[in-house]
């Protein structure tokens, strides 16, 4: 016992930080903030530390060279003992980190924690969100595979649309005229030095602010924030009903952090590492690039916006969102904190969550992407061929050969870019079918020049057979009249 005290005293003189530790660990926090709702910030920090450790371990093997990066990942996956596990931890850690940062942000927003005097803590938090997403994107590039290669192309295409500054930005981002060695090297510098440096400094500032300003008290409906009185009230509250951060609140953070690490490890073991997909060879074009999970929603937005809206939305949208997030605490710096009295805040969160969730879900199916080999790989279901005339079967062949199947499904097989054609004859008359095929329209190319009259006849004959058994195909009622003026009655076969 005496020995320990001697050592501590000896250290205390030479390493005088015990006061700082005591001040940090022992500072009083409002009792009800020792809650399971308040663990996400520290969990994000825990995952970040995991990312640093696994990231450094990956750097032992990884080669940041366009010619070798992909091979070094294969070696990590297959030849290095547990290399796959470290890759998987880092990859899943990244997804978890983005998710936890987002949850943390939602919690802070709903609990009104961004209000006076914590406005700048919120702004630094927004910066942290941006650099976290930056880490996720640059990390995806370092997994230098086909998806990364074409993902960079997508990033460059988006950036190039900025007026005037766009093209030089693209050259700066790629480090040259094309995606190549220089591109990977600068993304390596970004992912390993620049962005983590920013991330660490922002985390330090963020934590200092949380420490000095105190953890946001549990919001009570009716307890309104006023700049004149808030700080005094807060100190009274912590004095009256406070607990020291250690051990009062910290044990929940510890348990949750450990639980998250276990969850990441479980995902890593069960699902394994992400890719790498095919080698980054731009002459292999049999590929359908997909972004990583957290950018899927953006992928959906890019395909669903009408073409004319796209560039403005891409350039102005992020500015508006960012400005909104940064201005939020300065505009709504006072007032109610409780979500029970802030219906618009709750609705905003619900709407954003539903929108992002729907877009992500959609992007997983990517119905807007043609199925590039449907025309050659997927058969026409037999019920569409039975009891058909030679002409109609000829039409089915045209349907396959002209890649219609890549965009249109039959019996749920094939592309979903255009509508399913199982019952198209009920919707469209023969004339309308011809018009659609020859002239295209909507998002369909015009086939006029690429179909001979015989092919068109056969194709439309086949399309005409696409209706449910009990339902007759659509007819133009005036057509019979025009062709046969004697018979004034409507055609008997009209459904």
């Amino acid at each position: 016992m005496r020995l320990i005290k001697t050592v501590v005293d000896w250290l205390g003189v030479r390493l005088p930080i015990d006061a700082t530790i005591q001040e940090t660990a022992g500072h009083q926090v409002p009792r009800d903030t020792a809650s399971w709702f308040y663990v996400f910030g520290s969990a994000a920090l825990v995952v970040f530390m995991l990312q640093i450790i696994t990231g450094i371990m990956l750097a032992f093997i990884y080669v940041p060279s366009a010619g070798q990066a992909w091979n070094s990942l294969q070696v990590l996956n297959h030849n290095v003992t547990l290399g796959w596990f470290i890759r998987a931890m880092h990859g899943w850690g990244s997804d978890f980190m983005v998710a936890i940062v987002l949850i943390h942000m939602v919690q802070v927003f709903l609990f009104g924690a961004y209000k006076f005097p914590r406005e700048l803590t919120w702004v630094v938090g927004i910066l942290l969100l941006i650099v976290t997403l930056g880490m996720a994107f640059t990390g995806q590039v370092l997994r230098f595979d086909q998806d990364a290669y074409w993902g960079l192309g997508i990033g460059a295409s988006i950036a190039s649309r900025v007026p005037i500054l766009g093209p030089p930005t693209v050259n700066l981002m790629l480090g040259g005229p094309i995606i190549a060695g220089a591109t990977l090297s600068r993304f390596f510098a970004l992912h390993v030095f620049i962005i983590p440096g920013l991330l660490i400094s922002f985390v330090v500032v963020h934590l200092l602010m949380v420490l000095r300003l105190g953890i946001n008290e549990w919001p009570m409906p009716g307890r309104v924030v006023r700049k004149a009185t808030y700080i005094k009230d807060y100190h009274e509250l912590t004095k009256r009903d406070g607990v020291p951060f250690v051990p009062g609140a910290v044990y929940k953070d510890l348990f949750f952090g450990a639980f998250i690490i276990i969850a990441i490890a479980a995902c890593a073991i069960y699902f394994g590492p992400f890719g790498p997909s095919g080698a980054p060879d731009p002459t292999i074009i049999q590929t359908a690039p997909r972004p990583d999970y957290f950018f899927l929603w953006l992928y959906a937005v890019l395909s669903l916006l009408p073409p004319s809206m796209e560039t403005p939305a891409l350039l102005i949208g992020p500015v508006i969102v960012l400005a909104g997030l940064i201005l939020l605490p300065f505009i709504f710096g006072e007032g109610e904190k409780s979500w029970r009295r802030r219906p618009i805040a709750v609705l905003t969160i619900l709407l954003s969550a539903v929108a992002l969730g729907t877009l992500t879900k959609l992007a997983q199916f990517a119905p807007w992407s043609p199925v590039m080999d449907a025309w050659s790989e997927i058969p026409v279901p037999s019920e569409f061929l039975q009891n058909r005339t030679a002409l109609e079967r000829q039409g089915a062949l045209v349907f396959k050969l002209k890649q219609c199947h890549n965009c249109h499904s039959l019996d749920d097989q094939g592309g979903k870019r255009g509508p399913a054609l199982d019952a198209v004859a009920v919707r469209l008359t023969p004339d309308q079918l011809i018009r659609q095929v020859i002239q295209g329209g909507g998002n369909m190319p015009a086939y006029g020049k690429n179909l001979s009259p015989a092919e068109t006849t056969a194709l439309v004959a086949f399309l005409e057979t696409l209706h449910p058994a009990g339902q007759l195909p659509a007819r133009d009622a005036s057509r019979t009249l025009a062709l046969d003026p004697q018979d004034g009655t409507a055609p008997a076969s009209k459904p």
């Binding site: 060279s65 366009a66 010619g67 290669y149 074409w150 192309g153 997508i154 460059a156 295409s157 950036a159 190039s160 649309r161 900025v162 766009g166 093209p167 030089p168 693209v170 050259n171 700066l172 790629l174 040259g176 005229p177 094309i178 995606i179 190549a180 060695g181 220089a182 591109t183 080698a279 980054p280 731009p282 002459t283 074009i285 049999q286 590929t287 690039p289 890019l302 395909s303 916006l305 073409p307 004319s308 796209e310 560039t311 807007w368 992407s369 043609p370 050969l401 002209k402 890649q403 890549n406 870019r417 295209g440 909507g442 998002n443 369909m444 190319p445 015009a446 086939y447 020049k449 690429n450």
Partner: protein
Amino acid sequence: MTLPEGLSRRTLLVKLGIAFNAAIAAVLAVPIVRYLMSPVIHERKGGYDAWVSLGNLEQFPPGQTRFATYRNPVVNPWDGTTGDIACWVRNVDGKSFQVFAINCAHLGCPVRWFPQSSLFLCPCHGGAYYQDGSRASGPPERGLFEYGYKLESGRLFIKAEEMPTPGSACKSKNSDIVREIKPCA
């Protein structure tokens, strides 16, 4: 010596010191910024203006569109396969050609040629182009990017150096590096 005088002397020295450092930083910033901006300040290195061969003309029969690859004129030894670029060559009538970039004019994904329907289709968001590269349907705002080409001693050469993007192609509107099909919106 009175106290305020001494203070102001030291304050002056501090200010001078700061100014000295700022001046040095400003001077140092010039090479640093130039270094960082080197990909933008096109210091035309050898190779930038080179014509690249796509191979013998026999590979590109009249009336057909064929896949071709070339090694980018500006490469480093460690670029690996990323220095190999693909493109589509259309021999219109044996005399005139069109050489299309592989990159979709929407977001740069690799378009694929379907000779049966004479369409280029993009696997990402379903952009479609006709055989002459003009936009058929989908999200692209313009037709495929085209390279300038020349025929020499039975071979097809193109001028290719930069990955075409919607913005960069607009920039070089009047150059023959990436020829415009349609003016950008």
